[in-house]
């Protein structure tokens, strides 16, 4: 059980998103549990194909045919008037209903990995920003434009009054990502989900963008869900970490616990495989044996068991491990700790 002072503003419980294709069923997310607390950053880390992006899309109900959420709850805590809170289960809403559309961009914003292709090539940045603002706020076009310019300034884009009328191909990679962040934040969402926001950028720009995100988070007190495969970014930005493998959260906890006291064999293997400046030279870089199984032939039981050093035959390949508490706010799904 998670032990925290305040309740999380977003809780995902046992989320299952499956894709029903002609060749078979792909269990992209197969029972994920997550908690997002306001003002804090949750980092979701894992290899490509582990279901991180699908989780983010599922939260915003953007998964289309042939994919579908078949089980689980996505609980968003909404602050009602007079201090009364209630929770909405996003998984139960119709995916194109008014509430859901309000939540997208208004409560929860999502930014993508490739800023170039995230903007329409035939509309100006401003057009798209103003459209979003007017969708979520009762303002005039002029007011929306003012707000858009203000947001561009906030993300340190120079000459925002000019930039607002440009097309995405006219901006550099870093500027585009900033514009993307500006668009996402323009309606004051309480949660920002960033899916690999810096992977497509060079290291210097990466640092700048991360700084910006941290700064804005402090300013607004919003929660950030940072999805990445880069452990370095996680170490720098996250307060909580969730490690995903093949659609499941195998371990989650405070960032220090994860990095210094990882419990799950997969997390341990990941941390071991980071090249370190202090490791002995001319030694083999540790890797994880095997490779990610084909989506149509998932292993039975614990998804990691074929590659696990501590595999226990008879246990790990027959049953699914459930999350077990191993510390304050620290959970692991592994039979080693049952």
């Amino acid at each position: 059980m998670m032990n925290s002072e305040q309740k999380p503003i977003l809780s995902v419980r046992n989320l299952k998103t499956y894709f029903f294709t002609d060749e078979g069923v792909v269990k992209a997310v197969d029972g994920a549990d997550l908690d997002v607390e306001s003002g804090k950053t949750l980092g979701i880390v894992g290899e490509s194909g582990c279901g991180k992006t699908v989780t983010a899309l599922s939260i915003l109900r953007l998964v289309d045919r042939p994919g579908r959420i078949i089980d689980g709850e996505i609980l968003l805590r909404v602050t009602g008037g007079e201090g009364r809170d209630h929770t909405i289960d996003l998984a139960r809403l119709d995916d194109d209903c008014k509430e859901m559309r309000y939540i997208r961009g208004g409560e929860i914003a999502l930014i993508f990995q490739e800023p170039m292709t995230s903007f329409s090539p035939v509309h100006t940045i401003g057009d798209q920003m103003i459209e979003t603002i007017m969708l979520h706020r009762r303002v005039t076009a002029a007011e929306a434009r003012e707000r858009a310019i203000e947001m561009l300034r906030l993300v340190n884009i120079s000459r925002p009054e000019d930039r607002i009328d440009e097309y995405s191909y006219q901006l550099s990679g870093g500027l585009r990502q900033r514009a993307m962040i500006a668009t996402a934040l323009s309606c004051d969402p309480r949660i920002l989900i960033a899916d690999e926001p810096t992977t497509a950028l060079d290291v210097t720009t990466q640092a700048q963008i991360l700084d910006l995100m941290r700064h804005l988070q402090q300013q607004n007190g919003m929660a950030v869900v940072l999805i990445t495969h880069n452990l370095g970014v996680i170490a720098e930005m996250a307060d909580q970490v969730a490690v995903m493998y093949l659609g499941r959260v195998v371990e989650r906890g405070p960032v220090d616990d994860i990095f210094h006291d990882a419990k799950h064999p997969y997390t341990q293997a990941l941390l071991r495989s980071i090249p370190s400046i202090t490791s002995a030279s001319k030694t083999l870089l540790p890797t994880i044996t095997g490779s990610i199984p084909h989506p149509y032939s998932r292993p039975s039981g614990c998804p990691f068991h074929p590659r696990c050093r501590k595999y226990m035959r008879g246990t790990c390949n027959t049953a699914d491990p459930t999350p077990v508490a191993v510390g304050a706010d620290h959970e692991v799904s592994c039979f080693l700790y049952n």
Partner: protein, 382 residues
């Protein structure tokens, strides 16, 4: 050790995958194409249909039973005769005889079905003589009737306004229509590859000029042009000359599409690393084009050519329908359909419209086949 069995399983899996991968990686381009093509059920069916069509082309006279040019004014516009397979329980195909009586008012001979008289239909019967495959003289046909009397005749699809048997004419028409498309496409292909290749490979001014010419040709309405050109053919030319003239006319416009495809391919291939590598090693221009570039887009060309055929067939059919293309005594689908121009005539003799069916089927089949080939042409595509 417990790990071993898990990792063993893993290695087995990996081996399976790599065997399959290897099969794919050593397969030739054509094998890959064939595998992808096989998945396209519709294209496969179309390929079979087209093979059937060309079988008819080769065996046209064998499949016919009456001389396609033999007209009998007394037997105009007869209804199709259905073949009945069972005669009192035994498999003995037959048709009912037609009895001719003279209409007292118009004095024309009118034929009605006489159910009392059954004429047996035999396989491999003797009929008019022809040359099988242009070489072997024979008179065996697939079907025929035994009698030779005027009343004992077979008209599977009825007769036209001059008393000629529709089925036999349809067989001959298939031969002409399906081959005229081929020759037109061959010519278009030649022009298209030549001009498209030059345009794409050399670029610059040559490219611009050829592009403008292509644009010009594409913006001219084709039918009035064809009508004009076809009408300009001297009426005393024999069938063969007319045939080739029509071929040339049709392909004069058709080459632009192929040229576009070829040019596009050349332009994109020019930048490919393997072409640059070939240039660096000192290959001559010609060698680069034919040994290195052409194999890469050959499959696209095949697809584009197959897709160009239906347009040729429709063009020839349209022109002949108007009386401007092939003319009698040549027989093509268009020539046959000419008889169906008048709705009043059609109302009484709807079987005159039957040649429309092979046109539609052939066009559809070539379209599906071309689509399938085009999809398969990109073996490494999605």
């Amino acid at each position: 050790m417990p790990e071993d069995t898990a990792t063993e399983q893993l290695y087995e899996q990996e081996e399976e995958v790599s065997i399959a991968e290897e099969r794919v990686s050593v397969a030739t381009q054509w094998q890959l194409m064939w595998w992808r093509f096989r998945k396209h059920k519709l294209a496969l069916v179309s390929a079979v249909v087209i093979i059937l069509f060309y079988t008819v082309v080769v065996l046209a006279d064998f499949l016919a039973y009456a001389d396609p040019d033999y007209s009998e004014s007394q037997r105009t516009l007869l209804r199709p005769q259905p073949i009945h397979l069972f005669d009192e329980g035994k498999l003995r195909p037959f048709v009912y005889a037609l009895v001719g009586t003279r209409d007292p008012i118009t004095f024309k001979r009118v034929y009605t079905v006489d159910t009392s008289k059954k004429i047996p239909v035999t396989l491999f019967a003797h009929g008019y003589s022809y040359r099988l495959l242009g070489l072997i003289k024979t008179d065996i046909h697939l079907l025929g009737v035994q009698g030779t009397k005027a009343e004992d005749a077979l008209f599977l699809l009825g007769t036209d306004s001059q008393g000629r048997d529709m089925w036999s004419r349809l067989m001959r028409a298939t031969r002409i229509s399906m081959t005229i498309g081929l020759t037109s496409v061959a010519l278009s292909l030649f022009l298209g590859i030549l001009l498209g290749g030059i345009s794409g490979y050399y670029g610059g001014v040559v490219d611009t000029v050829i592009q403008r010419v292509i644009e010009l040709l594409r913006s001219i309405p084709t039918i009035p042009l064809w009508m004009g050109l076809a009408a300009g053919l001297p009426s005393n030319w024999d069938i063969v000359k007319v045939y080739f003239a029509i071929t040339i006319i049709i392909s004069l416009i058709g080459w632009t599409e192929l040229a576009r495809v070829v040019r596009g391919r050349f332009l994109s291939l020019r930048e490919e690393d393997f072409v640059v590598a070939a240039e660096i090693t000192g290959c001559s221009r010609l060698r680069i084009i034919f040994r290195h570039m052409v194999p890469s887009f050959l499959s696209h060309i095949i697809a584009a050519t197959t897709l160009a055929l239906p347009a040729m067939i429709i063009s020839e059919t349209s022109l002949s329908f108007l009386g401007l293309g092939l003319r009698p005594p040549a027989i093509s689908w268009g020539v046959l359909l000419q008889q169906a121009q008048n709705v009043q005539t059609l109302a009484f003799s709807p079987w005159l419209l039957l040649p429309a069916i092979p046109v539609i089927i052939a066009v559809l089949a070539f379209n599906f086949l071309g689509d399938g080939l085009r999809d398969a042409a990109d073996p490494y595509g999605i």
